[in-house]
Structures are given as structure tokens and as C-alpha cells.
Amino acid sequence: MAINWFKYSAPTTFYGLAGKLIPWFGISAAILFAVGLYIGFFVAPTDYQQGEFYRIIFIHVPSSIISMFLYLIMAGYAAMGLIFNTRLSSMMATAIAPTGALFAFISLWTGALWGKPMWGAWWVWDARLTSELILLFLYLGYIALHASIDDPRRADRASALLAIVGSVNVPIIYFSVQWWNTLHQGSTIKFSGTSMHVAMQQAMFITLVACWLYAIAVILARVRSIILERERHTKWITELPEVKN
């Protein structure tokens, strides 16, 4: 059983599979963004307290969720690369980091723009905001550490440790609003349900899926380049149609 998994996770098969999937993820992401934002701006009502400003939520919440999940997935791949020495897992971890960093940045940026009119401040050093900023720095640290070591296998191992240790931060971000007094409000989406109007909820869910599909598409595209680069000495690469011409 385990052998089967390793066969499918081989860069050789994965390269072709990813190439076929990317357009589908990309196109569905674009469609869902259009639908989600249409609902978010034209169907969803204004909020009783925050008026129109709350509409930042349709990009803010999805990018925050994805920045946290991508970190865990990246750390998971990095750990798999470290434990099983699989080539593809380490490449996936490397491919995820830039997208994760961008989503963390979007989360912080949109949060600041939301905070100014509603709270009265662009930035506050509360536990939620600070731990999300640390997440961005962890992504950047991972990218920098990986780039600074020339030997790719050694770079994988060193940066994997950083990724794994840093994953401690993710539960801190999530629970920060419960554990400490923060200016940031509690979670709207709880395990017990949401405290949100239906149309707002639909718009946020659709843009969340759109952001996921977008993230998967760019990560797959990036990992394909990494596979090409790292496996360029192998025969199967030189026989690829896009290399042959």
C-alpha cells in the first residue's frame, strides 16, 4: 500500500498530472471569485454596525485562513521530506512558502485597512495581529533560509526544521482571541456555527474556495518549475515535449 503512494508521489507522474490540473483550478478560481464578489458587493446587505466597511471580510478572512492552513501543509510536507526523504514533498514545501507569505501579507494589509475606520487604528500590538505578523516572518525566514543554502538537499533539511518548529505559531494565532484580551474580535466561523447573515456567509465561503483554488493552481505551477530545475539531469526531463522542441 505504502509503495503505491510513493509511486504516485514520484515527480515523474506528478509533473504531468499537475500540468493537466492547473488550468482547471485557475479557471474555476476566476469564476468563483466573480460569483463570490458579486454576492459580496451586490447581494449581501450592509452591516448594522460597520456599514460598507465590513465588505473587506470577503478577502480578509479567506486570506487569513489560507495563510494559516498553508503553513501547516508546508510544515507537513517539510516533515515528510525530512522523515521519508521523498523528493517531491520537499519541493512542495518550497513551492508553498511564497504563496503562503503573500496570503499572510494580504491578511495583514486588508486587516489594517479595516482597522483604521472601525477600530480607529491601522495597527495594534494585540495577540492576534502580532502572531499573524510572526507567521509572515516565518514564511519569509523559510524562503530566505532555503535560498541561502546552495545544496538543495541540505537547504531542504535546514528549512524543514524551521517550518516544523514554526508550526507552533498557528494554533496561537487561532486561539489568541480566546486566550487573551485582544482588540480583534472573536471568530465568526466557530465549530458551533457562524454568527453571520446568510448572503454574507455565502459570499465569504465562495471567495474562500476561490482563494484555495487559486493557491493550489499557483503552487502546482511553481512546483513544476522546481521539478524541472532539480531533475534536469534525468532522462525523463530531456524527453519532455516542452524541453525537446
Binding site: 448594522y48 475606520p117 480607529g120 494585540d126 495577540a127 496561537i172 482588540l183 453571520m196
Partner: protein, 163 residues
């Protein structure tokens, strides 16, 4: 044990150790990680003396009074147990309303009044159209929703952890 299993154990133990270390540090820093103190904590003398700190809670109903200069505002922050009067000169955020969440930064004088130099509004995690909010208000649920805006106000970590 195979090398693979060994590496797994190393990583698991490593993450557990780092997690424990971080948990201990955060636990020791508890009050410093929190953005604000509640009025009850201030009364229990848990807030720092002689330096500026933040108090968070609800703006007490009926407590907001504007002075003649149009800029100075008097109000009280409450966590339903204790109240701290605040005087602030400046522009208030849009969401500053009686019965809503607020965080004020400043120092408390010997008269027990906080002279604030920054007032931030804290909103809750509920999103709904004004009609729905009105309906809720009539049903008397709005107060409960507003109370959740300050979440941990009355009993810091415990109350919100249960939710």
C-alpha cells in the same frame, strides 16, 4: 528502530518540546500578551502603576457626556461588575457607542479617573443587516450579543473558552 522512525521520533519530540517552551513563556507573559485590563482587574490592583496601560470593556449606558469644547468626552468603561470613569480629548472612532466594546489607553490618576490619550472601538463578530439587528434588539438578545464583544471582560480566559 529504522532511521526513518528515528527521525520521526526526533521531530515529534522536538515539536513537543518547542510547544511546551512556548506555552510556558506565554503563560509567564500572560498579562503582557493581553492588550488590555478589565475594570475588575484594575480594582484588584492587577494593572501596572505609574505607567500608561489599556482598559477594555463596554461603554456604560448613559455615561457618555460631552463637554462644551466639543472635543472632551467623559464616559465610563464597565465589565458589568466594576466601572472606571474615563476622560478623553480627541476624535472617537465611528463605532464608539454606549453599550459597545471599547479599549482606552492612558493612566489612572489618584482620583480613579483614567485620562486617556487613545480610544479604540472593539466590535463583535456578529454581522447582520440593520433590520435583523433591530429585530434582535426587540427580542432583547442584542445586549447579550454586545456583551460578547468584550468576550473575556468579566472572567478573562475562562468565559470565552467555554463559548
Amino acid at each position: 528502530m529504522k532511521a526513518r522512525q528515528k527521525r520521526f521520533v526526533f521531530i515529534a519530540v522536538g515539536v513537543a518540546a518547542v510547544g511546551l517552551a512556548v506555552a510556558l513563556v506565554l503563560n509567564a507573559l500572560d498579562e503582557n500578551v493581553s492588550l488590555y485590563f478589565t475594570p475588575t482587574q484594575v480594582f484588584n490592583d492587577e494593572a501596572p502603576h505609574g505607567r500608561s496601560f489599556r482598559i477594555g470593556g463596554l461603554v456604560e449606558e448613559g455615561s457618555v457626556k460631552r463637554e462644551a469644547d466639543g472635543l472632551t468626552v467623559n464616559f465610563a468603561i464597565t465589565d458589568t461588575h466594576k466601572r472606571i470613569p474615563v476622560v478623553y480629548k480627541g476624535i472617537l472612532p465611528d463605532l464608539f457607542k454606549e453599550g459597545k466594546g471599547v479599549v482606552a489607553q492612558g493612566s489612572v490618576g489618584p482620583d480613579g479617573v483614567m485620562k486617556a490619550d487613545e480610544v479604540l472601538a472593539k466590535h463583535d463578530e456578529n454581522y447582520m443587516p440593520p433590520e435583523a439587528a433591530d429585530a434582535l434588539m426587540k427580542a432583547g438578545v442584542a445586549n447579550a450579543a454586545a456583551a460578547s464583544a468584550v468576550g473575556a471582560a468579566s472572567a478573562p480566559a475562562a468565559a470565552s473558552a467555554v463559548k
